[in-house]
Symmetry: C2
Subunit: 266 residues, 2 copies
């Protein structure tokens, strides 16, 4: 089995949690006591990590929040991943970057995200096809997480177009299952805001792990996510929450409550 | 008219060129005399720009080649855009980043690419729908270039899926025309490697400008690109060449020849 998937499953079991904390350290929302530090996004993340790691099987920074601060932000993203590797080597790290380019051009992103930043996994956009994504997919030591049905309100505009009776997102799921996942290192992004699709995709991809954003602020239901999305082992879910945890007055308590709410439905 | 599109059209007319030089400064391919400089990618780009600007209406770095060097690469990308703005303010600058995230998360990319790096335009992936892309589309001072039919060999896997008799790429073109281009600041990416689709998309989007990669190394035909892709004004094309120009022994001569080959078909 892929080492990253094994790592996630082990921690999920040991800590009894399916929670992923989204380190979306929006510079405009970081509390003032961090904003004045030399490395505000890193200082904030370190505090959030220390507060929430006991309840988290994965951490997922969205790189857009760091790129928006230029090279300073990217440096602090790197500091964040290094902090996680040093203090929590058993936690899965996901770079939410939604990347995709034509084949060899992806080499730059592969190097940036897997090697320089050191993430375990990356989110990818399927629009250019599996051939283009090979530089990611061929990294057998890492995990490629393909956007399938995203959590945003307008995601159906393209993803739900119907091809011979099937929505595009379902065809993506089938392609990943049949062609792209040759190294057993793929996962899918399925928004919690679309529970019917979450149930349906589970029947397409068997026990494959799903990264599920959209809980909390975006309106997705914990109960539906767990009951419709879990696999035969009662796991197979990486349930992400970002703003609802990291900007809570007490992130530890917010993470613990969400972990418990998830577990109450398993 | 959008100021960036006006800028491109003006320069295309004044210099009599539809050529875009792709500044894909692959660190592994930069000539040795630049590789030893303090800022190798910038030093290489500056030389390429000085050699080719007389023949170019646009420059298009692909950001993956810079991210692959970490913050050093991104700093040199910024130096490159600043050099272009200072020495060639009339040339259009395109960041080939193929970005897309859910709505407000895109704010980070908007800030990074349009404001911090200072590009005139960005390439975007349509898979999340127009609602998600609004932070880009609503920048009326900039240009959003949507991936439609990409130049890679496997692009048809998803882009040519048929929805009610139409390929997905054509539906993207229609959505951009009818819904996403509300500010008149959109363009499409159409690979030169798919000439039939290039002809067909022209009939869908009227005189909209198309960014066409895939000439040269990738095998696209200059003649077909110009004859099938031009708009009623005989323009409406940004024809990109990267490796074939920047890694030529004489980039100026390679750019001049390609400009002339393009013009011979107009």
């Amino acid at each position: 089995m892929n080492a990253v998937i094994q790592k996630y499953d082990n921690r999920a079991e040991q800590l009894n949690t399916l929670l992923c904390v989204g380190l979306d350290a929006d510079p405009l929302r970081i509390p003032a006591r961090f904003a004045s530090e030399q490395h505000p996004q890193f200082a904030f993340n370190r505090w959030v990590i220390d507060q929430t790691a006991a309840y988290a099987a994965a951490f997922k920074p969205n790189i857009a929040f760091y790129e928006g601060r230029g090279t300073d932000g990217l440096h602090e993203l790197k500091m964040t991943v290094e902090y996680l590797r040093e203090h929590h080597p058993d936690v899965m790290t996901i770079c939410d970057a939604k990347r995709a380019d034509i084949s060899t051009t992806n080499d730059g992103y592969v190097r940036a995200i897997f090697d320089l930043l050191g993430f375990d996994a990356v989110t990818l956009n399927p629009y250019l096809g599996g051939e283009a994504l090979r530089p990611f997919l061929d990294r057998q030591d890492k995990v490629s997480i393909l956007l399938c049905r995203t959590s945003n309100p307008g995601s159906g505009e393209i993803q739900s177009l119907t091809v011979e009776g099937k929505p595009v997102w379902k065809i993506i799921a089938e392609r990943v299952r049949d062609r792209w996942n040759t190294h057993g290192n793929c996962m899918l992004v399925m928004g919690a805001t679309y529970p019917d699709e979450l149930r349906e995709v589970r029947s397409v991809v068997g026990d494959m792990t799903l990264l599920v954003p959209g809980i909390g602020t975006q309106g997705g239901s914990v109960e539906q996510t767990v009951q419709l999305g879990r696999n035969r082992a009662g796991r197979g879910l990486i349930i992400n929450a970002s703003r609802g945890i990291i900007f809570a007055d007490d992130p530890a308590e917010a993470a613990r409550q969400l972990r418990d709410a998830i577990n109450a439905c398993r």
